[in-house]
């Protein structure tokens, strides 16, 4: 009962939806029609980006209200959120994950590391940026990117 009272006292914590992000919906994502299942792939990040992705789906930012949902299998996914520089050991798993997704599929590179190896450029275990391994459709810069930026990128996919 304490929990029920807490729920009533807290009310709605989701922030009002910001205006639609600039650039509109991606051409490739048009077919998805307001629904995007998301698979996160950590290709070697420091986990900073993962924490921000988790924050994008928390009650405050609530990315789910725009039709994005995190799923457990690449087969169910339309969007791969890839974080971190791609390490040598993760290059092949990343290729296979993207290959397992049904068309139409999109790859979003989240964080400076995913875009150009960021902090880890030149590291001995780093194979390269995400774009060197799989084709990238959208990037979210920042180290780590703010949850708002991740939500905005997902909105450009779902178009809501």
């Amino acid at each position: 009962m304490g929990l029920l009272r807490k729920i009533r006292a807290t009310g709605r914590v989701a922030e009002p939806a910001p205006p639609r992000p600039e650039g509109g919906v991606l051409e490739k994502a048009r077919e998805l029609g307001g629904s995007a299942q998301v698979r996160c792939v950590d290709a070697g990040s420091c986990n900073g980006c993962e924490i921000e992705i988790a924050a994008a789906f928390n009650p405050l930012h609530d990315a789910e209200r725009y039709g994005a949902r995190i799923v457990a299998s690449p087969r169910h996914a339309d969007v791969a959120l890839v974080t971190g520089p791609v390490t040598r050991n993760m290059a092949e798993p990343l290729r296979r994950t993207v290959a397992a997704m049904a068309e139409p599929r999109l790859v979003v590179a989240v964080g400076d590391c995913a875009i150009d190896c960021g902090e880890f450029a030149g590291g001995h275990g780093v194979e390269g940026a995400v774009a060197d391994v799989v084709p990238v459709d959208l990037t979210v810069p920042g180290c780590p990117p703010e949850p708002e930026a991740i939500v905005a990128a997902l909105r450009r996919v779902t178009g809501r």
């Binding site: 929990l3 709605r12 989701a14 077919e31 609530d62 209200r65 457990a72 169910h76 049904a102």
Partner: protein, 349 residues
């Protein structure tokens, strides 16, 4: 000509059978037309309403968690998108994997036609035996478990084995708890049980009715893979039951699997409400009764779903090894319900 002449006796036989079992006073002619409409409406409401019901449950959860939610139409958007996507047949999978989604939906559609969700007076109601309905539901479960094994992945096999463990405990509970209601009705025909209870509500307020309701509610939660037995929105493969079997499906096949799971939830919640709250279900063949039944069905199922969604926010999933204890408890309740129903009725008559 021959097709015509053979079809007429079958049609009349079915209508006559219906009038005989349900014991209604309606004339055979109008009862036929309304009966067919009721069957069509039941199938339609389960197929079209199931994604909406899931969306409604997600919306209730989202609001309780302080989120805005994606809206009740989101599962339909997901389905529309999945139907447009490419379909994938993983290497090494066979007929069991390919047939399972269609079989899951087909068995649920047949069960939705049989179970008296809107009307107890339909052309098929004489075939709506309890054991047939439970077997249809079990067939869908079995097909999906086979598909999980067919993929040959570690999680598929694990999910299949867990699902069968739970199914082995759930199916007897569903059978027994409905048996408890079938003893006063004197038949295992579900429409007859429901129309009997609608005319004699005292049957439901008996100890047997209450015990059976509790047992069936737990069984329905387990069968549809909700918290506390399974978490439908988990991303952790090691805790999955239902999801683990469907990890390899993509595109239109996944749309069917998800639609099938949503339809089973709607069907079982509808069965629960028909058995234990049979008010406003059409027991005669009139259009007005059917329309009222449709509205009442939507209201009852929405309330049940909202209660379930709220409970899911308040509860946590129990450990997998505790699930058999929970289900054994519900089986015991069902057994007590049958015993109570048998002895109380035996003393009464």
């Amino acid at each position: 000509m021959e097709a015509m002449s053979t079809s007429v006796p079958i049609g009349t036989a079915l209508t006559a059978g219906t009038a005989g079992t349900a014991g209604t006073a309606g004339t055979a002619g109008t009862a036929g037309a309304v009966g067919y409409a009721a069957v069509a409406a039941q199938i339609l409401v389960v197929v079209a309403g199931a994604p909406l019901l899931t969306g409604w449950m997600r919306q209730v959860r989202a609001r309780l968690e302080g989120r805005a939610g994606a809206g009740v139409l989101q599962p339909w958007r997901d389905t529309r998108k999945l139907l447009r996507k490419e379909s994938i047949t993983p290497v090494g999978t066979g007929p069991a994997f390919r047939a399972a989604p269609a079989l899951l939906v087909a068995t649920t559609v047949v069960a939705a036609a049989l179970v008296p969700l809107l009307s107890t007076d339909t052309p098929v109601s004489s075939h709506a035996d309890l054991i047939v309905v439970v077997a249809l539901i079990a067939l869908g479960t079995f097909a999906l478990a086979l598909a999980g094994l067919d993929t040959g992945t570690a999680f598929g096999g694990m999910g299949a084995s867990r699902e069968m463990t739970i199914a082995a405990l759930v199916e007897p509970t569903i059978l027994l708890s409905v048996f408890a209601l079938s003893i006063p009705a004197g038949t295992t025909n579900i429409p007859a049980i429901v129309s009997g209870a609608a005319h004699e509500p005292a049957r439901l307020a008996s100890p047997a009715g209450l015990l059976a309701a509790a047992a069936l509610a737990v069984a329905v939660i387990a069968e549809t893979g909700r918290i506390p037995v399974d978490n439908p929105s988990t991303h952790l493969e090691l805790t999955m039951i239902h999801e683990a079997m469907t990890l390899e499906y993509a595109g239109p096949d996944l749309a069917l699997v998800e639609l099938g799971a949503q339809m089973r939830l709607t069907l079982l919640l509808g069965l629960l409400s028909s058995l234990f709250a049979p008010w406003a279900i059409a027991t005669s063949g009139s259009w007005a009764a059917l329309a009222i039944a449709l509205v009442a069905f939507a209201a009852k199922v929405c309330v049940l779903a909202a209660v379930l969604a709220a409970a899911e926010v308040l509860w946590a999933k129990v450990r997998l090894f505790r699930v058999p204890e929970l289900l054994a408890g519900s089986f015991l309740l069902a057994l007590l319900a049958v015993a109570a129903s048998y002895f109380l009725n035996g003393a009464g008559s």
